[in-house]
Symmetry: C2
Subunit: 282 residues, 2 copies
């Protein structure tokens, strides 16, 4: 078993990006609505990474009782402001706001989280666009483990079907000639699909880890996307790591795994957004 | 084995639509570029169906050497014309035109073929929109065979990954809690996936039919999307029909199968487009 050093991948990626954007003026708006404690840490990590690579990240902190129309107006102003290159809304947002509708308001070429239906559609029709950061991070990990060009002909099983991970990843893997399956809570005989997977990506986020060595294929790449905090405050994923490490080819740990890459890909997407906007102006 | 009577499904569907749109003024623009012989028949079938249900279908026949910009301008005029409810471009179009780019020009709420990346994105993010006609037709067939509510927990294998069939269908099945896999030319051990499929949808379009009874699961629903014309002028699909009929639960024939539904779904989509535009105006 080879462990994937996601922290190293992240640092390497940030260094490369830093070189690439030297001298460019790139601005990212990180919109946060007050009220979700965990978000503070995530936003702070994003600001740190941005500062490291040389992207100007503005933290736009809004009151908990903001009206949906006011939030949308703000986003539209950013859409029209040429000095703004990337816009993201830190999730979750309060229940009185329709998160889906709010996100749809973001200009597709500034949507650095890649969550608008226009960017999801671009993945499906293989057009240049912005892809969800966690899905991009997983492709980055696969590249580091086995190389993207070696994905062809492999079977992949994805557990979970969110817009952030499972759905975009499905199309991204298909583009590399992988044979992908999406499993979920209604799937029967899940182990049939996991045992057949050269690449297993799990984002179930259940209370207890459940992917043991009897559920995986020998020498497979196992990527654990889930981050669940137990009662004692410790984090775990879906995979029984200690059981799986001897049978798998590669496995990502939790914590210190996929999550590391998400922030990097947000920075990469912000640069990509900047490039897309420059092309559009021409 | 029960055969699926797709011709009957089509007629029933057209009758229902005819009742629904009585008294409504709905206009569809069928754009055809001269030069593809087979298109004449397809366009004529669309006009017939439209006339039957009471949709005004205008056949817009354009010269073979039309410039891409002129074609796009025409489409944009239709986009802005409130009296036009549906726009479709009969494919294939000549090689000097970028079919993808031309189709992207169509307003998403008038895109009755459901092929713009915006409509594909709407499927992925479960937003109301227009879905590709053949994929809709297949859902219609599945409803007739086993009922959409009975799809939950079933395994589906889709062979082929076009925007017209495989890709949208994947998401449409997933929305009914099916566990879907997409296979293609680079898939290894295809029979592993076909034998595990409660629902097998094949759109490979190979020179010879290749899905025999050893490749399917007992009592499965087998839907053959391919239509290949052999040297003698006869049509066949991917499935060795005579071999499979005794083992499958349901199987669609070629010809007289899935193709029957495509025209019906184009008419349904034209009505749906009309409704979407009315909503937008409000």
């Amino acid at each position: 078993m080879k462990q994937v050093d996601c922290r190293k991948l992240k640092i390497q990626g940030l260094e490369i990006l830093k070189e690439k954007i030297k001298g460019e003026n790139i601005n990212l708006k990180v919109i946060q609505i007050e009220g979700d404690k965990a978000s503070d840490l995530y936003v702070s990590n994003k600001k740190k990474a941005a500062s490291f690579v040389g992207i100007k990240a503005d933290h736009v902190l809004l009151p908990n009782d903001i009206k949906e129309d006011d939030l949308k107006s703000l986003i539209k102003n950013f859409n029209n402001d040429e000095s703004v290159n990337g816009i993201m809304v830190q999730l979750p947002i309060p229940a009185h706001l329709d998160a889906d509708d709010v996100i749809e308001t973001i200009d597709k070429d500034k949507d650095v989280d890649g969550l608008t239906s226009q960017n999801l559609g671009r993945i499906m029709s293989k057009k240049e666009g912005l892809k969800p950061c966690t899905a991009e991070g997983i492709m980055n990990i696969l590249d580091a483990c086995i190389g993207l060009k070696n994905l062809e002909g492999k079977n992949a099983t994805i557990i979970g079907r969110t817009k952030l991970v499972g759905l975009p990843l499905f199309h991204m893997l298909l583009a590399y000639n992988v044979t992908p399956t999406i499993c979920h809570t209604k799937t029967k005989k899940l182990e049939q699909f996991t045992k057949n997977a050269d690449i297993l990506i799990t984002a179930a986020g259940q209370e207890n880890p459940f992917i043991g060595q009897d559920m995986i294929k020998e020498n497979s790449v196992v990527i654990d996307v889930s981050t669940v905090r137990d009662e004692s405050g410790k984090f775990h994923g879906d995979v029984l790591y200690d059981e799986v490490i001897d049978k798998a080819g590669y496995v990502t740990p939790v914590p210190g795994g996929v999550g590391q890459l998400t922030v990097l890909e947000l920075m990469n997407n912000t640069y990509k957004a900047y490039v897309l906007q420059k092309k559009r102006k021409k």
